[in-house]
Subunit: 489 residues, 2 copies
């Protein structure tokens, strides 16, 4: 009699199984992205389509970061996507780092171009060429610019969100009068990323400085935030670079200081990309589907009406609409799932896969009792809640879910961080999927040997690590600080 | 004694003159963009740098349109910027329209690509290839997608905001079960643009349908909004296309209807770009500088403190900060100009050029009287306003400024719209910079001849035009509706 009972399921996704994490972690990751409709591979090799559910996470990211950037005095702008090839060549380390992976426009408007244009892999070169014409005196400093843009790096082994030929990011670029001010600003922007990771993404990231081999091509120093995924591997969440005066010298970014002396400026750049969506997926989801931390989710809850006949349907939908209206007025974002070709159980399953933090089940019996059933996505816990103060209860529960996801991730990080002094233990700990705190002599060749043998790289030298005498895990040479080794995405 | 008196002006812009409109309208436009620091040409020919003041107008645009799009059920997504060349070729009219102006990536990752990739000039082809895999049944419809993105069209005569090789826009793409639903949706989205133009940009745009020669490459019908600039020329503000099933047939966008029959879908696309910033500039500014309609401005007012010595400075700045804090709490966006190397008069001039709707002057005498001086950007009117209810007064004045800009533009439109029946009058009216309502026989060759002779094109056939018997202005053949001819940007 009812459509949901008569019609066969049309949503093919419902029948797709998600590979369990324990069975195949990589496949699990892709299955989650597919099931939650976040993104998919496009007809253009290496490029992805970010679907509305995935893009909504990016919009939250933009909203939060834009607010904080603006508090710091940073203003958004937009620079050309095309960069003359010769610009890239001006900063030696930069061209070495990026030229193997650029895409090149050679023809346009039906003609061969006089000079090929590369599609930006990052915008230091084009921006600083322009900055050099904007900055004349110390009064023009600091210059604090951010850009939301697409960038292109030719990736041979694409992986949705983590490595794609084209991705979206924000790139901040600032110019300062002194090295110390630039360094301080780079650190402050890293703090912004750390705060975003912890408070919004529910990720207890580590923050520190990169080793020489891992720093950004052209930077003096790279600061980084690193998150742990559920398999114990690291994911670089965002980075902030103290560029020193390297680019200033290549692009002639100079200013007249207070003593009327013409001097080079000091610069920073800092970025966060759509790969953070990959981090969100891998850090929080389970074998049922995606789990989005409430503060990153486009919906606070979905309401699923339950009824057996037309009379009940009318009764339940009337109440459901009341609840939805009330919640919206309260400031919550809600979706009422009225699809008539799916049974309630299928809807539960659908929204669990999509990672919405909470669902509300509402049937005639609940209405009679003046209650709804709240179901948490993170714990599957079901709680009957009275209609009075419902919105307050939802709000509190969202805060509890956000905290629980953070706590889970923090427990994982703690349990999978090992302090190690012997090479044999080091190899075992890396193999087992851990962050490994070990002494290191600082030699880039040794770093490379360790990477070749174990697959682990130095993720960062954490700001929290205390100085202590020790011996390099590989060479036995003296060291005064442990660094964090891990395999990484 | 004070820095502002001792130091010479460092901001070079202060000394630059704005060419009067009457002298050279084109140069005036560029001078305004320069003086208000909206954008500049980049080192890459044809590409522009959108500076923070210009980008802030785009951010307002995004904020307003995103809200309205979401109310319509449209969701944002992101599709690859690269499109395989063969995709473009599938829709015949589309490839003819766009292939002369595309940029082509032939090399990437250090190798020649097997198939060249074009940089999107618009995304119909890549999106609809993907849509065809998303849509199976009538239950998947309507599909309502929007994308904020950069696009590239190789322009030989670039002009800031109006025609640049790369520009920013939003492109909406929807799929429907019937032609009528698609047509209705395309019209609704045009209404969204009309509302944005009128309520936010203070532009009394005309809305109508494009002639066959002026419609989008691949569309069944193009709806358009046209704004009048101060020189009487038209600027196409935004367009919305009923694509019919043209693309559906080329990209196999099909669905099972309610009778289980496999049928082609009906589509729309609609877009608004950064060229609307050019429209804002040309419609409202004067010989002093830019004028931004208050609802499009990142600042509601600037506060300029006036003082003669340290004691007064401290006194005035204390009060100024109080006013700023109060205004911010009230929800206004404010900037306190504390620069100590500029005299108040220079600051007035600076912010007038930047087009901020209102300034507040505050000196010791004002404080003694418990007042501030409000100065409107649009009329230069100065009004002493008591500190009690200051924010309410500001709010009302902003509404009045917004309305005044609209009224001015509407008066211009009325005074420069001519109804004409003789060819000699037509030529004169076009030459004088007017929108000309004239009868037209509908022949595309005639349209072209008129364009060649006068430079005028059919901007649209307005929805407001009533049917009436008449004779074509050029051929004398019978016609039942007047169309709008004008020269256009």
């Amino acid at each position: 009699m009812f459509q949901q009972e008569q019609e066969k399921k049309e949503d093919k996704n419902i029948e797709k199984k998600i590979t369990p994490r324990a069975e195949n972690y990589s496949q699990w990751y892709l299955d989650i992205i597919d099931a939650a409709e976040l993104a998919e591979h496009s007809p253009v090799k290496g490029c992805m389509v970010i679907k509305p559910n995935g893009y909504a996470i990016w919009e939250k990211t933009q909203e939060v970061l834009n607010g904080w950037f603006k508090e710091k005095g940073v203003r958004n702008a937009y620079f050309p996507m095309f960069i003359p090839e010769r610009f890239l060549e001006r900063e030696k380390a930069h061209v070495e780092g990026f030229s193997p992976e650029v895409a090149v426009v050679t023809h346009a408007g039906g003609k061969k171009l006089d000079e090929p244009l590369i599609v930006r892999p990052t915008s230091e070169t084009i921006m600083y060429e322009v900055f050099s014409t904007w900055i004349h005196s110390y009064r023009d400093l600091p210059l604090l610019i951010n850009q939301w843009a697409n960038v292109v790096r030719w990736e041979m082994r694409p992986r949705l969100f983590l490595r794609t030929v084209e991705f979206l990011w924000q790139e901040g670029h600032t110019v300062h009068a002194t090295h110390d001010e630039a360094d301080k600003f780079a650190r402050e922007m890293l703090d912004v990323y750390v705060r975003f990771a912890r408070e919004y993404m529910a990720l207890p990231v580590l923050a520190g400085v990169k080793s020489e081999s891992e720093k950004f091509a052209g930077a003096l120093r790279t600061y980084s935030t690193e998150a742990m995924m559920q398999d114990g591997k690291a994911l670089q969440f965002a980075t902030s670079h103290n560029l020193g005066d390297n680019f200033a010298k290549s692009f002639n970014v100079k200013f007249l200081d207070e003593n009327n002396k013409d001097v080079f400026a000091w610069q920073t750049s800092w970025g966060l990309s759509t790969r953070t969506i990959g981090a969100l997926v891998m850090a929080h989801s389970d074998d049922v589907g995606l789990i989005i931390p409430p503060k990153m989710c486009y919906l606070n809850f979905v309401l699923i009406p339950i009824f057996k006949n037309e009379e009940e349907k009318e009764h339940v939908l009337r109440k459901a609409n009341e609840i939805v209206d009330g919640a919206k007025k309260f400031g919550l974002s809600v979706h009422l799932d009225e699809r008539d070709n799916m049974r309630p159980g299928e809807k539960f399953f659908y929204w669990e896969k999509c990672g919405i933090p909470m669902r509300i089940e509402l049937g005639p019996k609940d209405i009679a009792k003046g209650q709804v059933i709240l179901v948490r996505r993170d714990t599957s816990e079901k709680t009957p809640v009275g209609l009075v103060d419902l919105n307050e209860t939802i709000k509190e529960m969202l805060i509890a879910i956000q905290q629980n996801l953070y706590d889970r991730a923090e427990n994982l990080l703690k349990s999978r961080t090992k302090t190690v002094d012997l090479w044999v233990d080091f190899e075992k700990a890396i193999e087992g999927g851990n962050f490994v705190l070990a002494h290191f002599c600082g030699d880039a060749n040794v770093e490379k040997e360790i990477k070749d043998k174990t697959g682990a790289t130095i993720r960062c030298i954490s700001f929290d690590t205390v100085e202590e005498k020790g011996k390099c895990i590989y060479t036995g040479k003296s060291s005064n600080k442990r660094v964090i080794f891990a395999k990484a995405y």
